[in-house]
Symmetry: C2
Subunit: 363 residues, 2 copies
């Protein structure tokens, strides 16, 4: 990882047995151990104000009091990922290599620097700052969807090394893909089939059932609900759903946005109370993923599957604490073993602050 | 994980959006950090000869010179997993919970103790001992398939803690499932569709193309070939294929079995030369998975999907070194980013011993 320039452009290759696309983005270098990680934080953080020259030139930034691009004064800043797995400068190109399916990994790979403050935590930032981060998610989605080459855009957040983060400075990542991933297609088709059969949204029905049942509800407010999914794959996994039916994150209104800020910070504070490191103030390592609708912008001159057929969806955010490891069973079957009953996880998270207070008084 | 008895029987729950089954096997205990792992090896190894009483009573063992069950004298021994995620004593029971799909996690979860020698390594065991382990795989597959409740049996090997192993004593695991996992169904259907269209095996054609191309071939012998897959998900991932078309591991003959022993040990020695710890003799952490046909034993009184339709397959073994981590992108999309070009990985593995010699002479 000493060199950010790959020897050849990144590619997408399709596994002929599973239909899963793999991005081949060679980072060069010699064979070694866990070579994807920085074990030690770099001494100078490239995401801190004053170090703007250490990142590629910015794509977008908010500077409330003005100031020049690629200089300080920003409250949020978006830059290309230095170690990117996708390249927007490539042409859309698909071909067969013998019996295999191949394409250039045309796409975008960006970093959203969420705050100038290196020590900030998403759970305790001012709500307006979190709202600004969500506005930036919207901005990047809208902007990238204008490019019809990009069929799906995923926004995610890796927090701490065990969750895949290489820098502690608060940041999210954006990846724009030239394909709709199979896992996303599965979700869209399940929702569509349900809608065709019932003329109701699958996720709206799930929310209704969960509210009625109550055992997996962790928190709710006027606009959002936080659930441990019935078939949660991981201990303390949570899904955040907008209560109003909306297929796409871009549909969210201002009141809903602040409802999301509130429930997101609430859940992260529950994670911290139950699973975080009280002495360092660090939360449990986690991944956060925005699951929203694919890009349906028509591709000029081409009938396009996802642009022309109907689909149904209900966007949501997934939160996955990284407490356990994948092993041979999971790789071999695609099934998961969750060693925490979802109802118990929900109960503990719903009472996280009381449980944390008990732990402290015992200790 | 202090208690091996779960409070309630393990369950399978289906995610209504993705169709993926999750095993809920609660281990009890308080919320904590990485609670699935033993950080410290237990002082007394429950898999060592003389400690047979520390495991549940054995299911199967080979004692060439005789001896009593659950006593020493065995060369290979199979016991139920003490922390099992599946329970063979449960009845097959499927039901709806509101709009969700649920079933009891009826199944088997066994440990194959591969040798009495706590310090042995699969890569350097006598070939006859590895052949005995493969014979035990066959025995467990045959035995478990007689139970028509079990629709699919997966055999895998987790090596070292980062790959999910909690004990160093060489062992594999066997899990018998009451469902065919979606990922396995995808593979069976891809192979079937290809066969219907071409009257040829998809994997046989892949092998032919790979041999002709050559760039991803790591090793081969009369009966087996070791490839880095065209769309390898992980750096240095390898697939071992029998050259002769065979849908099921049970079809393997004696000569082929020794061909598999040879290529498996060859590949593990290449992993060690390139990625292993020379000072401790430990190999790189890896997962190994046997991908073979599902159980087609008819279920009495029930027409069964996998028992009645045709399918096509070509069994193989997957080897995945655990060098990188999954993060938000992978969870969110089901796609993988591989930072090692498969052709480079294959080249390095094909020349692993020369590369290792160069490294040593430089150091």
């Amino acid at each position: 990882m000493s060199d950010s320039k790959p020897e050849f452009p990144p590619e997408l290759r399709r596994d002929p047995l599973t239909g899963i696309w793999v991005v081949i983005a060679d980072r060069g270098g010699r064979p070694s151990g866990r070579f994807e990680e920085r074990d030690v934080e770099p001494k100078v953080c490239p995401f801190c104000p004053g170090n703007e020259g250490m990142t590629p030139p910015e794509i977008y930034a908010v500077r409330p009091n003005g100031g020049e691009a690629n200089g300080p004064g920003w409250t949020v800043r978006v830059v290309p990922n230095k170690f990117r797995a996708f390249d927007a400068d490539l042409q859309l190109r698909r071909k067969a290599i013998g019996m295999y399916d191949w394409m250039l990994a045309v796409g975008a790979h960006e970093v959203i620097i969420e705050t100038p403050d290196d020590d900030a935590q998403l759970r305790s930032m001012p709500p307006d700052q979190v709202a600004l981060v969500l506005d930036t998610y919207k901005h990047r989605l809208e902007d990238l969807r204008r490019d019809a080459r990009f069929r799906h855009i995923v926004i995610f957040r890796n927090y701490r090394t065990p969750a895949g983060a290489s820098l502690k400075h608060p940041h999210s990542q954006v990846i724009a893909l030239p394909v709709v991933p199979k896992l996303v297609k599965d979700r869209l088709l399940a929702a569509l089939q349900y809608f065709r059969a019932k003329e109701r949204c699958l996720v709206c029905d799930i929310i209704d059932q969960e509210v009625y049942d109550g055992r997996r509800v962790v928190a709710q407010n006027e606009h959002f609900i936080a659930l441990v999914p019935f078939a949660a794959r991981f201990p303390y996994e949570i899904a955040l759903y907008p209560r109003r039916h909306q297929h796409d994150f871009l549909v969210i209104n201002e009141a809903e946005k602040y409802g999301l800020v509130a429930i997101l910070q609430d859940i992260l504070n529950r994670y911290f109370a139950l699973l975080g490191e009280k002495d360092t103030g660090k939360n449990v390592p986690y991944n956060m993923v925005l699951q929203t609708a694919p890009n349906t912008t028509p591709r000029p001159g081409r009938p396009d599957y996802w642009g022309t057929i109907e689909y149904d969806y209900h966007w949501h955010i997934e939160l996955i604490p990284r407490l356990t490891r994948m092993a041979g069973f999971e790789w071999g079957t695609g099934l998961y073993i969750n060693i925490k009953q979802p109802e118990k996880a929900a109960h503990e998270l719903a009472h996280a602050h009381e449980l944390a207070a008990q732990q402290t008084s015992v200790a």
